[in-house]
């Protein structure tokens, strides 16, 4: 069977149905390639930003140049920071209705099914195309309640005080090289503000699309959930397939105040030429709940470890991570939880699948500070390897400075079982169907946490990865 399975797995093409691209003829502005002070000043100028933001960017650029590339995680040697367009403006106006969005851009989002999803099950939608958000909407009843859901550039103009109060407080400029890069050249992203006690019961979604070649997308997202408020934010991402690399380096900062709840779901399906180097961090105050649901299917290399700092008593953190590494892909994903207050609880569940020479790594940090007594944490990471060419690694880091804690850690690596395959095949399932079913079963505990529509989407994406059917 193993030879059969090899042949079958090798036969799976990594087809990608979002690989189309649109013409750039209508573009408003595209920066030259490369990064220097002038690039940063230009971005700030084009956005007519206040002086403090311009200074912030320039300071961040210095930090970026000072910091060395990380020597852990994935291979970044082919990433050439001077071969990237740092700012591309596809249109100079943002649509409030899809009719306002230029046809070339709207076509892309139609293909991705965004307007349809919006009509069916979303409370608000933001759509970013290249460097800026080209469409934004929010259900009227929510804006009447004081909910703000807009792009970060608009927020900086219209909600300056809020932005200034929280911006870069969770992820400071010098946190890491890519956070510094984002801080210098950020553009677009979402700003979400949920006033105290307001519960947004259906998801807000942001969609990120890179269209141009050698493009850098650096969205910056800030979510503030006030006391007792609740929100579910979802993001999706795709890009055309090019032979040269593009870079996506986002920063996402979240503050969940006392008793608030925030769930942030990502279904990342970048093309396989994208470096996806993202810093995501949340601070959870007393009795707050922060959940990251992080699905990584695309990209060439992803390095992303959503984290939660539990700073208030009774805060909770949940990180659910799914990674699928196919041919030429390395998913270096996981999560970080920091227990910095008593009676805080966290759970990390990671499921990774490697196939066709792909590599997935779980990298996690669990830290319990002195004084965080009565805290509990449970980490489970399971890896499924579909063929001998593929690889899976686990890097769990645990630092505990408090005695009164309960910690659980389990890790498992399994190969797709011959007996499982034979059993399913003896019931009439083809080898591809059988392995797809086994893979879907493997991630089922996570997929069932997703809202119905995303669960269906996730299963479809897995099937595409498995079948290589033409989209």
């Amino acid at each position: 069977m193993s030879t059969d399975l090899n042949a079958q797995v090798a036969g799976i093409k990594d087809d990608y149905k979002y690989g189309f691209h649109e013409s750039e003829a209508h573009y408003n502005y595209k920066s030259g390639k490369g990064l220097n002070r002038r690039t940063v000043e230009e971005i700030s100028e084009m956005k007519s930003e206040p002086n403090w933001m311009r200074e912030f960017r320039l300071k961040a650029l210095d930090v970026f140049f000072q910091k060395a590339l990380p020597q852990w995680g994935g291979n970044l040697n082919d990433l050439d920071f001077q071969d990237i367009h740092y700012f591309v403006r596809a249109t100079d106006r943002q649509g409030k209705s899809w009719d306002d969005v230029p046809a070339e851009i709207k076509r892309t989002f139609d293909k991705l099914g965004i307007p349809e999803a919006e009509r069916k099950f979303l409370a608000g939608v933001g759509a970013q195309y290249e460097s800026e958000v080209v469409y934004h909407s929010l259900r009227e009843d929510l804006s009447a309640k004081g909910v703000i859901f807009t792009d970060m550039d608009t927020a900086l103009r219209e909600h300056t005080d809020l932005v200034r109060e929280y911006f870069a407080t969770i992820i400071p400029v010098n946190d890491n090289k890519f956070a510094a890069l984002n801080s210098a050249v950020w553009s677009g992203g979402s700003f979400v503000y949920i006033p105290a006690g307001v519960k947004v019961d259906i998801p807000l979604q942001a969609y990120f699309r890179i269209n141009a070649e050698n493009m850098g997308q650096f969205e910056r997202t800030l979510i503030i959930v006030e006391e007792g408020a609740q929100v579910h934010y979802v993001e999706g991402c795709t890009a055309p397939v090019y032979t040269s690399e593009s870079l996506h380096s986002a920063v996402v900062e979240i503050i969940v105040k006392k008793g608030g709840r925030c769930r942030y779901t990502t279904i990342q399906n970048w093309a396989n030429n994208i470096y996806n180097l993202v810093t995501k961090r949340a601070v959870a105050h007393e009795d707050a709940l922060m959940e990251w649901v992080d699905g990584n299917l695309g990209s060439r290399l992803t390095m992303k470890y959503p984290s939660v700092y539990m700073v208030g008593k009774g805060a909770r953190a949940e990180i659910l991570s799914i990674a699928f590494a196919g041919k030429g892909q390395h998913q270096d994903a996981g999560g970080k939880v920091v227990h910095a207050a008593p009676y805080t609880t966290s759970r990390i569940i990671s499921k990774s699948i490697s196939k066709n020479g792909g590599r997935s790594s779980y990298r996690g940090l669990l830290k319990v500070a002195d004084g965080a007594y009565g805290s509990k944490s449970n980490v489970v990471c399971d890896a499924l390897i579909l063929d001998p060419q593929s690889r899976s690694d686990t890097y769990p880091y645990i630092e505990v400075d408090e005695d009164d804690v309960k910690i659980g850690h389990e890790a498992s690596v399994s190969k797709i079982g011959e007996e499982q395959l034979f059993y399913l095949r003896s019931r009439g399932l083809s080898e591809t169907e059988a392995s797809t079913l086994i893979v879907n079963g493997f991630i089922e505990p996570l997929v069932k946490e997703l809202p119905m529509e995303y669960a269906v989407e996730m299963n479809k994406l897995i099937e595409l990865q498995m079948e290589g059917s033409v989209g």
Binding site: S430, E431, L437, I438, G441, E467
Partner: protein
């Protein structure tokens, strides 16, 4: 509909280079019930795995046909589509895959063998209705359909699940590999009744592999075969079961000294069952 035949001729099977079956001949017609008995290690399970197409079981000689369809040329899924079913002695568990989801795929493939991958499965409504009916008949709780396939099932639940699959897939031929092992007497009865119901309704040809008489009180065979030392050495009717029950295998041993020697060698090696 004319009755089909499952014809096994001179079947030789090796596992990891070791010869286990050494020329098995057996013909089963639809509507007939056969029992295959034999001591541990005689090759009973090997026959079932080899017929279903397990990759570790190498056919070194012989043939197996359903009418004019050569099973041995086919992948396991095509054998299922050709009408062969194996109720496993040790069904494997598939975490995260519900019984209902799995069975819908299986039923679709077996009933629509020409369907291309990715095309629609059979209608959810019809499938659910049929599944519920079959589960009721087997005294299975509706919750069963939503459980993950064999995951955390008790021995009895696993065997019942195998018979549920048999009932849903309606094969021309069903091999029951030690379906009675690990079951208490009530479970043996329920499972057997399930098999009988399917066999009667579908005219299934049944091969019951067992080394105890117990299940044969419920699934009554017209034909009984004794596998010994990798060959079928005795063919007869129900009276063979009684003889074995009373006298054990000693008389077989005495009657077939060559096979007895091989049997001893086989028993001394640990085999996958």
């Amino acid at each position: 509909m004319s009755r089909k035949s499952l014809r096994i001729e001179n079947l030789h099977v090796s596992v990891e280079g070791k010869s286990i079956l050494r020329g098995v001949n057996l013909t089963i017609n639809q509507g007939e019930t056969h029992a295959l008995m034999g001591p541990n290690g005689s090759g009973k399970s090997t026959l079932s795995y080899a017929l279903m197409g397990h990759p570790n079981y190498e056919i070194t000689d012989g043939s197996a046909f359903i009418d004019d369809v050569n099973l041995l040329d086919m992948e396991p899924d095509d054998r299922a589509k050709a009408g062969l079913f194996l109720a496993f002695q040790y069904p494997t568990s598939i975490p995260g895959v519900t019984m209902a989801n799995f069975l819908r795929h299986a039923v679709t493939n077996v009933r629509m063998p020409d369907r291309k991958e990715g095309e629609d499965l059979i209608s959810m409504r019809d499938f659910r209705k049929e599944l519920k009916q079959k589960m009721d008949e087997l005294g299975m709780d509706g919750e069963f359909a939503r459980r993950y396939l064999n995951e955390g099932f008790s021995g009895g639940e696993k065997k019942r699940a195998e018979v549920l699959q048999l009932a849903m897939l309606q094969p021309a031929f069903a091999i029951l590999d030690e379906t009675d092992s690990g079951l208490d007497i009530d479970a043996v009865r329920v499972v057997s009744e399930g098999v009988n119901r399917v066999a009667k309704a579908q005219g299934t040809g049944v091969l019951v592999i067992t080394h105890y008489q117990r299940i044969l009180n419920y699934i009554q065979p017209q034909f009984v075969h004794i596998l010994y030392g990798g060959k079928i050495v005795e063919n007869g009717g129900p009276e063979l079961v009684t003889t074995l029950e009373l006298e054990g295998y000693d008389w077989i041993r005495a009657k077939y000294p060559n096979e007895a020697q091989i049997e001893d060698e086989l028993e001394s090696t640990v085999l996958t069952s």
